[in-house]
């Protein structure tokens, strides 16, 4: 029922920009639709909390707590971003940066993008997950190259090539993976819920290869280093709402797909060591991104690197694999989505006010754009893991987990990277917000008040998360943890 | 009760006689240098003269100059009541060495600040040097305390002199620490080789430079306080290290012996200072600063000697 409802909703949302010429109406429809999606998500959450898991359409769709987490992330970020887009696109059109047609294209692609993400989260079919990922590549490729100029085209091209190769590799992995189970019932073989329960495959060797291919291939899409190279380019060039969506949700979702395969792989005897892939690539991502953050000239690029870093943290947490770290990783994916969206959207506001992404061109934001400055600082605190924000607990639980499992080197490395990221963030954002050049008087900009509703909404969600962290949220995450750790 | 009365009396004795001892010191120096010198009660005349004079105060001076000399004198008078002179027992509750040592810090801080108070060049110079010297001399105080504590397991000077009074044979460490303390006395009381108390030459003076802008009664207080301070230091030296002969029972003969022994030892100490001051020239500030590392290593040797030998 709900799935059909969702499908119809998306159909409407996708068609609207094609039919309606009015950009405002399209925007409103999108906001309305995302509201509906959120309410459906909440409804589904309530259902699942009662039945533990649900499946629809001959198990083509399957919902458990892990899915719920993704759904929650997608739908909450979606509503924030669609509210943001409403003013953003209008502003762009008013400033004659884009034509009306492109504005409608934006909504078309954006809704498609969201559709694919929800599809990935809901589907039970492992190949369908892949299709969904490929679909997000297709839609976001245009969204990244949205402002057709040299930089955005370059980044879009890199994105398309690198991600399609990655996804191609992942697909080979999936093929081999499925082949490893070919003795089973052909009707069931592509179903994740079936695979997770099924007995050992014919060849664990093939599964090993397959999982590595899947990990590296889809890891490209998830932005794990050293396959992350497309990410800073794409995130810095895409329109800010798209960056927020990609950074907060899409990367996470790609990791989610890997995780689904990992859950299957993990239960095969002798293959639980594949978790080292998570640890190694997680650490690599942490290292590379944290050092890169130290010397960035472009604040959106900085945020992109931070996404790599946070994905590294999540991967590390999943890789360590004890209950506490997995809990931390899942919690972190949630708070990172919110925090990073907050930062990207604020960055978008700053970009539209200053027309530059260069850090050294922006000073004394607290004087010129006080509201955005406050959100920027708050977002920074969320991302670097300052309490009482949940990111502190998620990052800390990973420290506890690494110590508990005896991987002290990883603890040291992890702490070092956290420190470096902290230093890098602090240097840049404190400079942007507080630094005042002597002899310059800073006037308050009118644009400051524009488009702050989504920011405050985002922050309210974070506050809500703090409040619910010990209650419903943690029980939901704990359910998800038990799916992974079993 | 009679003990306490006697304590007060012996302390008042010191108080009253301290200018006399300074006169004796000056006389000794003069004799050693081969001239006649002033009478030994000359310091009383000097002090009396100062007391009679009016004050000349710098228009820059502050409450430091107003209260400083008074507090300095009061402090040094107070310390006198915290030391044994010719009689000591184990019953006494006051007389902790820490309080004595730190009480001199009151005098020091006021002298130094008075130097800075009148905004003259000399004062600043004197203060700076005095602070420097006293900083370097600080570890020597520690030696004193440490060593006496090792010997007697006590910090009370009355108890220390009581316990030490029957020691006749002094070991090496004892002598070494005594020497370091003597150096410390010279440094804290602005004697040669650290400072020349007689001249008013800008290159050589420290203590005099600081009180250069005082006059009249202010100068009286400061001078008297410095006399008393020197004598108290010497009393600590005498009764801490060589208390032999000090009265430990409250009989007339013992008190007499104690008095004679004390006077003899004090005169001997003054003679020692006079000899040092006539034979050694005041050394450069940084040269004299070098004396401290030397003394510190001496002290370390002394303390380790106790443990290794």
């Amino acid at each position: 029922m709900y799935i059909i409802l969702l499908g119809i909703l998306f159909l409407l949302m996708i068609i609207t920009p094609l039919i309606f010429k009015n950009i405002k109406a399209t925007g409103l429809v999108t906001i309305l639709g995302s509201l509906f999606i959120l309410s459906i998500t909440i409804k589904i959450i309530m259902l699942v909390s009662r039945f533990h898991s649900l499946s629809f359409f001959n198990e083509f769709f399957y919902i458990d707590s892990l899915t719920l987490l993704q759904l929650l992330i997608i739908s909450s970020i979606n509503i924030i971003v669609s509210i943001y887009s409403y003013k953003y696109i209008q502003g762009e059109i008013v400033e004659k940066k884009i034509s009306l047609k492109r504005g409608r294209l934006y909504y078309f692609l954006f809704n498609f993008f969201v559709f694919f993400m929800i599809f990935i989260a809901l589907t039970n079919n492992i190949v369908a997950m892949w299709i969904g990922l490929e679909g997000t590549t297709l839609t976001t490729a245009f969204l990244i190259g949205f402002n057709i100029n040299k930089e955005s085209l370059e980044s879009a091209w890199k994105y398309v090539i690198i991600c399609s190769i990655g996804i191609g590799i992942g697909f080979i992995g999936i093929l081999i993976f499925v082949n490893g189970y070919s003795s089973g019932d052909p009707a069931q073989i592509l179903k994740w819920s079936h695979l997770a329960k099924s007995s050992t495959p014919q060849s664990t060797y093939a599964i090993k290869i397959a999982f590595t291919l899947i990990f590296v291939g889809l890891g490209t899409k998830a932005g794990l280093a050293p396959m992350h190279t497309w990410l800073p380019d794409a995130h810095s060039e895409a329109p800010s709402p798209v960056s927020a969506m990609m950074s907060g949700v899409l990367l996470n979702l790609a990791l989610y797909v890997i995780l689904r395969f990992y859950i299957i792989t993990k239960h095969i005897p002798g293959l639980s060591n594949t978790r080292w892939l998570f640890i190694i690539f997680g650490c690599l991502s942490l290292l590379i991104s944290s050092f890169s953050i130290l010397r960035q000239l472009n604040y959106k690029r900085l945020l992109a690197f931070s996404s790599v870093e946070n994905l590294g943290i999540i991967a590390l947490g999943l890789g360590i694999g004890s209950k506490i770290t997995v809990f931390g990783a899942l919690l972190h994916s949630l708070i990172h989505a919110l925090g990073k969206s907050l930062l990207f959207l604020t960055a978008g506001n700053i970009l539209s006010a200053y027309k530059t992404k260069r850090i050294d061109k922006i000073n004394a934001l607290i004087k010129t754009m006080p509201i955005n400055a406050v959100f920027l600082i708050l977002g920074m605190l969320v991302i670097v893991g300052a309490p009482p924000f949940p990111s502190f607990f998620s990052e800390y639980s990973i420290i506890v987990g690494t110590v508990q499992s005896g991987n002290y080197i990883i603890t040291a490395l992890y702490s070092l990277c956290l420190l470096l990221v902290f230093a890098g963030f602090l240097k840049v954002f404190i400079k942007i917000v507080f630094n005042a050049e002597p002899g310059v008087t800073y006037e308050k900009l009118e644009i400051d008040k524009e488009n702050t509703l989504p920011l405050s909404l985002c922050f309210i969600l974070i506050i809500v998360m703090i409040l619910f962290m010990n209650g419903y949220l943690s029980s939901m995450i704990n359910n998800a943890v038990s799916i992974i750790c079993n | 009760m009679q003990y306490n009365l006697f304590y007060v009396m012996q302390s008042i004795l010191i108080l009253v006689l301290s200018p006399l001892f300074m006169g004796i010191l000056k006389k000794m120096k003069a004799t050693l240098r081969g001239y006649k010198g002033a009478s030994i009660i000359q310091p009383y005349y000097d002090l009396n003269k100062l007391l009679k004079k009016g004050r000349v105060v710098s228009n820059r001076s502050s409450f430091i100059t107003t209260i400083g000399p008074i507090v300095m004198l009061a402090t040094s008078i107070t310390t006198v009541f915290f030391v044994p002179v010719i009689f000591t027992t184990m019953q006494n509750t006051i007389g902790n060495l820490f309080i004595l040592i730190f009480a001199f810090a009151i005098i020091k801080i006021f002298t130094v600040l008075i130097g800075l108070d009148s905004s003259s060049t000399f004062g600043g110079m004197g203060s700076s040097r005095e602070s420097f010297i006293s900083m370097m001399a600080e570890p020597l105080t520690l030696f004193l305390l440490t060593f006496l504590y090792i010997e007697t397991k006590d910090f009370n000077l009355f108890h220390i002199s009581f316990i030490n009074s029957n020691i006749t044979h002094y070991d090496m460490a004892h002598i070494i620490v005594m020497v370091t303390f003597i150096i410390s006395i010279l440094a804290e009381n602005a004697r040669i080789p650290f400072d020349n108390p007689e001249t008013h030459l800008e290159l050589t003076m420290m203590h005099e430079a600081m009180i250069l802008d005082l006059s009249g009664s202010d100068l009286f207080y400061v001078e008297l306080s410095s006399y008393i301070k020197l004598i108290v230091y010497l009393v600590i030296l005498i009764n801490g290290f060589i208390p032999i002969g000090i009265a430990t029972t409250f009989t007339f003969s013992a008190l007499l012996i104690g008095f004679l022994a004390f006077v003899f030892k004090l005169l001997f100490c003054l003679l020692g200072i006079a000899v040092i001051e006539t034979t050694i020239a005041k050394s450069k500030l940084f040269r004299s600063a070098e004396l401290f590392p030397a003394t510190i290593s001496l002290g370390i040797i002394a303390i380790t000697l106790i443990y290794i030998l």
Partner: protein, 591 residues
């Protein structure tokens, strides 16, 4: 009552909470007047909010009974103090030092996080009671690990060498009321944490832990006070002096740890009492001095003592308060610095006679010498700061035309000055109370003797006051019919009204610079340009030789790692394939 809310209520926490509150009240009163100055450029509500958050989080840290709660409050304390440090953000250096501070404090936070993770690993709990119950039975290695992490974690916050570099940067940058809180209270919170870990949890640490703490504490004390001595910025000098006092406290703690190891519990309790008392005393007099520095800054607009001088005429009350603070920090009786200084020296001296290991004796003795030297240097430094700033003649116009100080600021200073005297005179009673608790903590079987003769210091004080009054009366009598002439200071016949004939701040500390110059990287340059011009510079050698190389390494690595993102898509693709091949090899061969 407190434990109802999951908070700690043993005497240690209560004691430190008392310190926080004791300092906070006068500082809060002071703040009322002090912030007027900021109205023009900055938001006042923001500052008040942050200060309340800051103080509340400190109390939270102290009262926390759970590792997580502790860490949360700890981090909130760090972030709120950071935003307070950069409160005057229009000055660029403040931002820089604020960032440096926050990074250092984050290092501290990370170490503590790892430490609590280890405690969790060993005991399976974050609850302090549970940890305290199980931590006694730790193996020596486990104790070492926890101890080292605690040392770095709390040490970075306290500012022990070599992690002290943020202190002299952050304190001058922060508004003075905030520096008073930071130096007076926040450092004590770190000390509290360290005591809780090493005395309440670990109790019997291995011998070398104590040795390390003792050595580090002593080095911190002597190093920072020699650096502080050469500063001309009042607040920087005070910041270094804070590090020095922390070093002293730390040395006393180390001594106590060593003594516990030799089962000399009574003496250990003495050293611990000394540390605790000094924490209180330092909190009071250092806050007082920072508030005074704030008043000077408020009135004249400069922190550089070479531009000041002669403020006693126009800021009588402040100068008296500063004088009291200076006396306290120079351990002049009967002010409060004296009592704890005596206790510290006493514990050093007594332990020399009690310990029976020659090498430990030599260590304690040499540390004792350095501690004594430190107290001498502290005297030198604070006399410099008071004398140059308040006495003599105004050196520049800034010191000539001063703003009047609001009443509330004076009240704040006055309360603290009063506290300095009260806690000094009544220190024996405080010591008695404290030693009761420390003896309890260390389980000494014997009855604790009184560490200091209670009557003596009071007798001394009373005598001093009475004699002073008598002399004062006599002086009045004596000077009744004599005239007092008030004149310019005689300047050997030159113009005596020239302020530059006075000793400057750097001149005052010149002797020390000559002897200890290499320790502080002191450089002097004399140049001739119309007149002789002398420029001096000091820098922190640890910053130069430890921090900068590390930064260089990080910089180098950054350059190398950044060159990964070369911009060529072909290269990027090859990364994917290389990592694929490597991952395959890894998975197939090693896993």
């Amino acid at each position: 009552m407190l434990s109802l809310f999951g908070f700690q209520n043993d005497w240690l926490s209560i004691y430190f909470v008392l310190i926080v509150i004791l300092i906070f009240i006068p500082v809060a009163i002071y703040t009322k007047g002090y912030i007027i100055e900021y109205k023009k450029h900055y938001s006042i509500k923001y500052m008040l909010l942050l200060i309340i958050l800051f103080v509340a989080s400190m109390i939270g840290v102290i009262l926390a009974e759970n590792g997580m709660v502790f860490l949360v409050f700890w981090e909130i304390m760090s972030s709120s103090s950071f935003f307070l440090v950069i409160y005057e953000y229009l000055h660029k250096e403040n931002l820089k030092s604020g960032i440096f501070y926050f990074i250092m404090t984050h290092i501290s936070g990370l170490f503590l996080m790892v430490m609590f993770a280890f405690l969790f690993k060993y005991t399976g709990s974050f609850d302090f009671k549970e940890i305290a119950r199980l931590s006694m039975n730790f193996s020596p290695e486990q104790k070492y690990i926890v101890f080292v992490l605690a040392l770095f974690g709390f040490g970075a916050k306290m500012g022990i060498v070599p992690l002290h570099a943020w202190l002299p940067k952050a304190h001058p940058a922060a508004p003075s009321n905030v520096s008073a809180l930071m130096s007076g209270v926040m450092l004590k919170v770190a000390i509290y944490g360290f005591i809780r870990i090493s005395f309440v949890f670990l109790i019997n640490t291995p011998l070398y832990c104590g040795v390390i703490v003792l050595i580090i504490g002593t080095i911190t004390a002597i190093f920072s006070i020699l650096n502080g001595l050469l500063q001309n910025n009042i607040k920087k000098l005070l910041a270094y002096s804070s590090a020095e006092n922390i070093g002293l406290i730390f040395a006393a703690l180390g001594l106590s740890m060593i003594l516990i190891n030799y089962n000399l519990k009574l003496l250990a309790a003495l050293a611990l009492t000394a540390a605790l008392l000094h924490s209180l005393n330092h909190a009071i007099f250092k806050s007082l001095l920072f508030l005074n520095a704030g008043s000077v800054l408020y009135a004249t607009g400069t922190k550089n003592m070479d531009e000041l001088g002669g403020l006693n005429k126009k800021m009588q009350f402040t100068s008296i308060c500063t004088f009291i603070g200076t006396c306290a920090i120079s351990a002049v009786p009967p002010f409060n610095g004296f009592a704890s200084e005596v206790l510290i020296l006493r514990s050093f001296i007594e332990s020399i006679t009690m310990v029976h290991n020659v090498w430990i004796i030599i260590l304690i003795f040499s540390c004792g010498i350095l501690v004594a030297l430190t107290s001498g240097a502290a005297f030198y430094a604070t006399v410099k700061s008071f004398g140059i700033t308040f006495l003599g003649k105004p050196r520049t116009e800034k010191a000539q035309y001063v703003k009047p100080i609001p009443l509330s600021m004076n009240i704040g200073q006055g309360i603290l000055a009063l506290l300095t005297i009260v806690t000094g005179v009544f220190s024996p009673f405080i010591i008695k109370k404290l030693s009761y608790y420390t003896n309890n903590l260390l389980n000494t079987s014997e009855n604790p003797p009184s560490f200091i003769n209670e009557t003596e210091i009071i007798v001394f004080t009373l005598m001093l006051i009475i004699i002073t009054l008598i002399i004062y009366m006599l002086n009045k009598l004596n000077s009744r019919n004599k005239n007092t002439e008030i004149n310019d200071t005689w300047a050997c016949g030159y113009h005596s009204d020239q302020p530059y004939i006075q000793y400057s701040g750097s001149g005052f500390s010149e002797p020390a610079a000559k002897v200890f110059g290499p320790l502080t990287n002191y450089r002097k340059k004399v140049s001739y340009k119309e007149t002789i011009y002398i420029s001096e510079k000091t820098s922190d050698i640890i910053e130069d030789h430890l921090y900068k190389p590390i930064l260089k390494v990080v910089d180098f690595l950054t350059t190398k790692i950044l060159s990964i993102h070369y911009g060529k898509i072909q290269l990027y693709l090859s990364y994917i394939f290389i990592s694929l091949i490597l991952a395959l090899i890894l998975v197939l061969k090693f896993l």
